[in-house]
């Protein structure tokens, strides 16, 4: 019979339900374990994980997104493969994202983020977060319950990061739809782990962020995006705009699943731990400590990965260059050498903030301060407006025999859905829908007008066979260029700024002359 530790973490739906049992089976083999028959090592020890995260010279973050099981795009050769990693960087999934960066380039790009999540910046956003949370929770309590993840958690965290980054209200629904339709990061179905399709959220959002960044560079304002778009690297040099676009897009995406799932995981503890919700309702100042213990026991990131780029060691184990290492953060957070009674939920553990749910070292989660604030605030609202929170037994079964679905991801630990029953607090009144922020789908009907390179989005030009034909005539090859998928929400005149040699004024003027001859279109 196949034992638990012989199963494949990266594809197994049974492990998905209880990864902690799998990690304990691996831990029984030692804190660092070479899985027989597989080409990666799993680290379950707390100290050993810190050792790898700290050793940024010997370990590259390049496989952070694709994970330790996915193949390398090259055959590692010799005792130092740093040059090979750099030569193939763009062939790795997410190779151009901050999470996979190494060395000084990582430090420089990361430094651009530091001002975004300071206490004073979050304080400035707290009113928006609080209003939004209040409205969503009041609506849910009025209905007597909700499906927490899709109805509350995901729109909540999306709108919070959208507001923080200054994404215009009219565009937010497009972002949320793209994220909603996408598979989770680190999908158990490995063929889904592909960022190149035109509908992938990073591509969809990237086209919008390209516009915002270009606009903020031309007309800097006082918002966060202006600050980010015009930020300098620590050495005074200016990042290229693509770097800023990828960073902003990644921030938006990274804050999604993890924060949304943290709320779900927290809620499950609030419901299942006897007496806990009354304790927190009575003393909401315990919520931050509570959240840290949830992060330790059930943080929303189960694992990350590193690639040994030089011959090195973890503890006493020799690790040759080219070895892929899975760092089981969730296992380190339950390491009995570090945590007393590690499987137990204990409020107010000493030094609880030293858990590794957000990682540690130079790649430690940049959005952690935001996640802590937003989840705390919405939990306060849930406890304030309810007298009791329970799971819907019709959907999840009775206490002690719950049926729960988890997001099919080797990275994310989070519930796919959580159906709540909410008993209103005494005296609860559903507030009259006020000026509270609400996502509104932008009006789809625009005034009737003709096509032009300055006003019509590239996506619209491609959608109409008549205009696509003109585009192909004046700009051959553009309609089939994969990079154009990034720019569908932009106009050709906007793209001109990125590629002035290809999109010359003469060509665009000639195209405009022909576009003007077409009949006006209702769009």
């Amino acid at each position: 019979m196949q034992t638990l530790e012989d199963r494949d973490y990266f594809t197994d739906y049974e492990i998905l339900k209880d990864p902690y049992a799998y990690f304990e089976a691996i831990r029984a083999k030692g804190p660092i374990y070479q899985i027989p028959g597989r080409d990666y090592v799993i680290v379950t020890g707390f100290e050993e994980t810190l050792e790898v995260l700290k050793n940024v010279e010997d370990f590259s973050a390049i496989i952070g997104v694709q994970g330790a099981a996915a193949p390398l795009p090259f055959e590692p050769k010799g005792s130092d493969i740093t040059a090979q990693v750099e030569a193939h960087r763009t062939q790795f999934l997410g190779g151009d994202l901050l999470v996979n960066y190494d060395g000084q380039h990582h430090t420089f790009v990361r430094a651009l983020l530091a001002p975004l999540f300071t206490p004073s910046r979050l304080k400035a956003n707290e009113q928006f977060i609080s209003q939004l949370a209040d409205q969503l929770v009041r609506d849910a309590v009025t209905r007597g319950g909700c499906e927490l993840i899709k109805e509350v958690s995901t729109p909540f965290v999306s709108l919070v990061i959208a507001d923080l980054l200054g994404v215009p209200a009219d565009d937010r629904q497009v972002f949320m739809d793209a994220i909603d339709a996408a598979p989770p990061p680190g999908s158990l179905e490995s063929e889904q782990n592909d960022f190149s399709s035109a509908t992938h959220p990073l591509v969809v959002m990237g086209s919008y962020f390209a516009q915002y960044v270009q606009d903020r560079r031309a007309n800097p304002g006082k918002d966060v995006l202006s600050e980010l778009a015009n930020a300098k690297f620590p050495d005074g040099s200016t990042p290229d705009s693509g770097e800023i676009v990828r960073l902003a897009t990644f921030l938006f995406g990274a804050g999604q699943d993890t924060s949304a799932k943290l709320l779900g995981n927290s809620m499950r503890f609030i419901i299942e731990q006897p007496g806990l919700q009354d304790q927190l309702r009575k003393d909401p100042s315990l919520i931050p400590q509570f959240l840290e213990e949830v992060l330790r026991l059930e943080g929303s990131t189960k694992q990350t990965a590193r690639l040994a780029r030089r011959d090195t060691r973890i503890g006493d184990l020799k690790i040759p260059a080219g070895t892929k290492v899975m760092l089981a953060l969730a296992a380190g957070n339950r390491d009995p050498r570090r945590w007393e009674n590690p499987q137990d939920f204990v409020l107010n553990r000493p030094k609880i903030k030293e858990h590794i749910a957000f990682g540690r070292g130079k790649h430690v989660c940049a959005g952690a301060p935001l996640a802590r604030v937003e989840v705390r605030i919405i939990l306060e609202k849930f406890l304030e407006h309810s007298a009791a929170i329970d799971l819907d037994a019709n959907k999840h079964g009775p206490r002690g025999a719950r049926i729960l679905d988890y997001e099919p991801s080797f990275i994310i630990r989070g519930l796919a859905n959580l159906n709540l029953k909410l008993t209103p607090a005494p005296g609860f009144v559903h507030s009259v829908r006020s000026a509270a922020p609400k996502a509104q789908r932008p009006a789809m009907v625009e005034t009737v007008k003709g096509y032009s390179t300055a006003a019509t989005k590239i996506g619209d030009l491609l959608a109409d066979p008549a205009t696509k034909a003109l585009l192909d005539k004046h700009l051959p090859g553009v309609s089939s260029d994969p990079r154009i998928a990034m720019a569908k929400a932009m106009t050709l005149r906007a793209v001109q700024a990125f590629a002035p040699d290809q999109f010359t004024r003469e060509v665009l003027d000639a195209l405009d002359a022909e576009l003007a001859k077409l009949a006006p279109q209702a769009r």
Binding site: K54, A111, P119, S120, P234, E354, G361, V364, A368
Partner: protein, 105 residues
């Protein structure tokens, strides 16, 4: 390259190469010294990179933000030379800066 002199909690002194533009926290974190947790990664949010700066440098450092001041307020080991290492970016004029890692709170 600028130099940074770091005294650890057990009193050992290390001289580190400190590339201009990097924060004192980043230079220490990426060295072999493991005294600094730097839990928030440089967002001025956690106070786990608390250091005491040498007297002769205390006055030429950039002024403290309210965030930094507020976080240091929560430390039992704050003194007149307390700073968060993530808020000090190395420049050529700071070469030779000497910091002592503060006791753990």
């Amino acid at each position: 390259m600028a130099k940074l002199i770091v005294t650890t909690r057990d009193g050992e002194t290390h001289t580190l190469e400190a590339p201009t533009g990097l924060s004192v926290m980043e230079v220490i974190r990426d060295s072999s010294i493991s005294d600094i947790l730097a839990l928030c990664g440089g967002a001025c949010s956690c106070a786990t990179c608390h250091v005491h700066v040498a007297k002769e440098f205390a006055d030429i450092l950039p002024p403290m933000s309210e965030d930094e001041n507020g976080l240091l307020e929560g430390s039992d080991h704050r003194d007149a030379r307390s700073r968060l290492a993530c808020q000090i970016r190395m420049t050529d004029s700071l070469s030779g800066l000497s910091v002592t890692i503060a006791k753990e709170d």
